[in-house]
Symmetry: C2
């Protein structure tokens, strides 16, 4: 157990290979709008397992094999799919115990990027304190990887990174990472009006026709769920209470 | 002339190729610690022309050709060089009218990266208002490129990007870039105690033995000079008052 584990933030997947943290470390994948928020929503509503896939072909293949598939592009649920990728698509009770294939190009790429991590966790505002608690108990170095938007820095993932970093830094973690320091300052600025702050984000504006007000309200609500998803083999499942 | 030119910020050279701004645009290169601050200091003290070079071999070749060469590595002036790369190396009067070869691996790479810009300018806190005035008069889209530290986000370049973005946004520029929005918020947080704020930067801590207190004080002082350096061919020279 480390006395002072470190926290580092990557603002874009494209900066991951330059990260300072050496192994072993735990990776946290963040794609607030929308993959990681939706994944938390799914587990919170009893989904047993999520199979993340990157491409449409893979999603269609999985549908043909009989899986329940969540897949959309440009806000439209694809004809072969059972549902879209919004948080609201998963906030229902008939998926209890199910396995769902979740199509997310960015999310899947970012998850695979972090293959050198000891564990890959899924983070969003909706599960932040449960996630922070898990990381604090685990007491290992942490790298928070923002899925970003077209590889560019985005506000919502970065502000989340700040909120999580702040929690870790106030529990004995340290940092030599300027991105972590900056993200904490952005969170400080945002936290009293998270929804208002993120509404100025260009990504949010771009997604306005894709993200409903209901979904956006859910996305910026802290601690809706105590679930902490992690990658087990190729699948996402909730971590068991002990690790 | 554009009615509402845009401002965009790249937090790392590695994110430059994903930028949103189309040509034509003006690029501002930022390497606060230390290249762009030192380049401004040099012109402020009468240097006529700076030839930026990336590598040591190139710097040594230029010395053999009779040029005055500023070149150091790890805080040590190289044996063949005339001076180091600190701002204080240029704050002297005997370089008036001279051409100086300036060795900066990061800075030179970042300058060459921006070859698709209509003009490449050099920015630092010491020339910020002159630079902002020039950009506002020119009224073209602007992309601010942080040289970063080992390709990772750093606080000093990003906070400068925020200070410059704030000036442009308050003079009719617009943005759809989350990095610009975030950098403005970081500047807001930093501006009342810039030195204190940047002292927490990991890069500053790493450079502590390379950057003297005197140099650091100079670096965080706004508007020491009215000079605006730009690239002309392969060389840096001050822009003439009219363009």
């Amino acid at each position: 157990m480390k006395e002072h584990p470190t926290v580092e933030v990557c603002f874009s997947p494209k900066l991951y290979k330059y990260k300072l943290t050496k192994t072993p470390f735990t990776a946290v994948i963040v794609d607030i709008l929308r993959a990681t928020t939706s994944i938390c929503a799914a587990f919170d509503h009893g989904v047993r397992k999520i199979i993340p896939v990157a491409g449409l072909d893979e999603a269609r293949d999985m549908k043909n094999k009989g899986f329940t598939v969540a897949c959309e592009r440009n806000g439209e649920v694809l004809d072969f799919a059972d549902m879209g990728n919004s948080a609201s698509d998963f906030r229902r009770d008939d998926l209890k115990g199910e396995t769902v294939v979740f199509s997310t190009t960015n999310g899947t790429k970012t998850i695979h990027l972090a293959h050198d991590a000891s564990e890959i966790l899924i983070g969003a505002f909706v599960n932040i304190d449960a996630l922070a608690g898990y990381l604090i108990d685990k007491n290992e170095n942490v790298v928070i990887i923002c899925a970003a938007w077209k590889n560019l820095f985005n506000l919502e993932d970065s502000v989340f990174a700040g909120a999580l970093s702040e929690r870790l830094l106030s529990h004995g973690f340290t940092t030599v990472c300027d991105s972590a320091l900056a993200s904490v300052d952005l969170w400080e600025k945002a936290k009293n009006n998270l929804k208002g702050y993120l509404s100025k984000s260009s990504h949010r504006n771009r997604l306005k026709h894709l993200v409903s007000d209901e979904d956006f309200n859910y996305t910026v609500t802290l601690n809706v769920t105590g679930v902490v998803p992690h990658l087990k083999g190729e699948n996402l499942v909730p971590v068991s209470s002990a690790f």
